[in-house]
């Protein structure tokens, strides 16, 4: 490096450190109380005991992802047996069994309209399937290719737009019609592992292997906030139902709640007896419960305001890889490496 460049680097490093200190101080200035104090007068939620109501059998290999349809009845799951299955969770019937070109699938998503599903993985692509094609056959509608790393997660904004996160450290907003990238969200210093869209569809959050979560403005294409604190990869991320907080799950065995308006972590969900990574998470309808899937085959249910464990879902014979609570809050679905999905309530 030239002497001039070294001088510039040193100056930029000082500016960066200065700004980081400013942010730390600004966050500290908001700490007039804690979430624990604000929830002091509230009792811990009573023990939550959910039962397995349905077991969805049909996949022949590890399930990596699942996503509920907005109708709270249908859901889609992706397995490395090379299939995407759309299930009627009430009858347990398979509505569609879609064979994939690449079996190395890591994520799947259901469009809010119910018309489309998407998936992707080690093929670095996001494939969009039309469930409501004229002749009744489910076909690939679009293959969104541009990422230079695996597809870790995808979420539809509508039938015409989808957001993807990738092992290439970026997230992308795609125009499904033209198959082109509308916006590239760059900034993470590690593989992006998970993303979630805000209830008002204006923002999305991403969790990455750089141990941070970032809040992005979808239309501006900018990163608004960055949250640190985790000591390992963030594998799962979700919005608190009112859109004002974000929950992350990490390989460091903890989940954290970050408040968007105070711009900082408010509470950590961890227990000394839990030593394995969090793979997936979903809040309940009110946000009071956090259901988190772990590498030790269990799902722990946390009281989000008191940070106490109030329940366990034990029923899988292998890692719980994905979890989702239906839109009407009536059921929780877990997917596992044991090849089964279970519906609980």
């Amino acid at each position: 490096m030239t002497t001039i460049a070294m001088g510039e680097m040193e100056q930029l490093r000082k500016e960066a450190d200065n700004l980081k200190d400013q942010i730390t101080a600004a966050r500290k200035a908001m700490q007039d109380t804690t979430l624990q104090e604000a929830a002091a007068s509230i009792n811990v939620v009573g023990r939550v005991q959910l039962k397995t109501r349905k077991t969805l059998r049909g996949h022949l290999a590890k399930i990596y992802a699942m996503h509920w349809s907005t109708d709270s009845k249908l859901c889609v799951s992706a397995s490395q047996d090379g299939k995407l299955i759309v299930w009627d969770s009430i009858t347990t019937n398979k509505v569609n069994a879609i064979p994939l070109k690449s079996s190395w699938v890591m994520t799947c998503a259901y469009a809010p309209s119910g018309n489309l599903v998407a998936c992707g993985g080690l093929d670095n692509m996001c494939s969009i399937y039309n469930l409501k094609g004229k002749d009744g056959n489910v076909k690939v509608m679009r293959e969104l290719a541009a990422h230079t790393g695996y597809l870790s997660c995808c979420r539809f904004l509508s039938d015409s737009e989808i957001i993807t996160s990738s092992g290439d450290c970026t997230c992308v907003l795609w125009d499904i019609e033209t198959g082109t990238q509308k916006t590239i969200f760059a900034g993470h210093q590690g593989d992006c592992m998970s993303l979630a869209v805000s209830p008002d569809f204006k923002f999305f959050i991403s969790g990455a292997c750089d141990f941070t979560a970032k809040l992005w403005d979808i239309r501006e294409g900018t990163c608004r906030q960055t949250f640190g604190g985790h000591e390992s990869d963030i594998n799962a991320i979700g919005f608190f139902p009112n859109g004002n907080a974000v929950i992350t799950g990490s390989d460091d065995a903890s989940c954290k709640l970050y408040d968007l308006r105070a711009d900082q972590e408010l509470i950590t969900y961890q227990d000394s007896s839990i030593m394995c990574g969090v793979t997936s998470l979903a809040p309940s309808l009110s946000g009071r419960l956090l259901l988190a899937g772990y590498d030790d085959f269990n799902v722990n249910i946390w009281d989000t305001l008191k940070a106490e464990r109030v329940g366990v879902l034990a029923g899988h014979d292998n890692r719980v890889s994905c979890i989702g609570v239906s839109s009407d809050g009536m059921a929780c679905c877990t997917g596992s490496w044991d090849s089964f999905l279970k519906i609980w309530n």
Binding site: M1, T2, A5, M6, E8, M9, L12, R13, E15, A16, L19, K20, Q22, I23, A26, R27, A29, M30, Q31, D32, T33, T34, L35, A38, A39, I42, V45, V48, R53, I90, G187, T222, C223, R224, Q225, T226, F240, P241, N242, N244, A245, D259, R261, A262, D263, Q264, L266, S284, L285, S286, G287, R288, L289, L305, V325, D328, G329, M330, I343, N345
Partner: protein, 73 residues
Amino acid sequence: MSVKMGSSSTSVIQAQKLVDQLRVEATMERFKISLTATDLVRYCQEHKRSDPLITGIAASSNPFKDKKSCVLL
């Protein structure tokens, strides 16, 4: 020579991007936790009664619970 210049200017560009991003994040308007935490608590309390996983679901209104039919012997 040009390769070295290339890599050093890339590092400088990256460092500048980081500084620019930090500047954006530093200037956001933040709100006191007393306000934001209270809102979180209030939201939970207001929606607790309509959260099926907390209140429980009556067997008759649980679409996932198999309904057992009565058999007259």
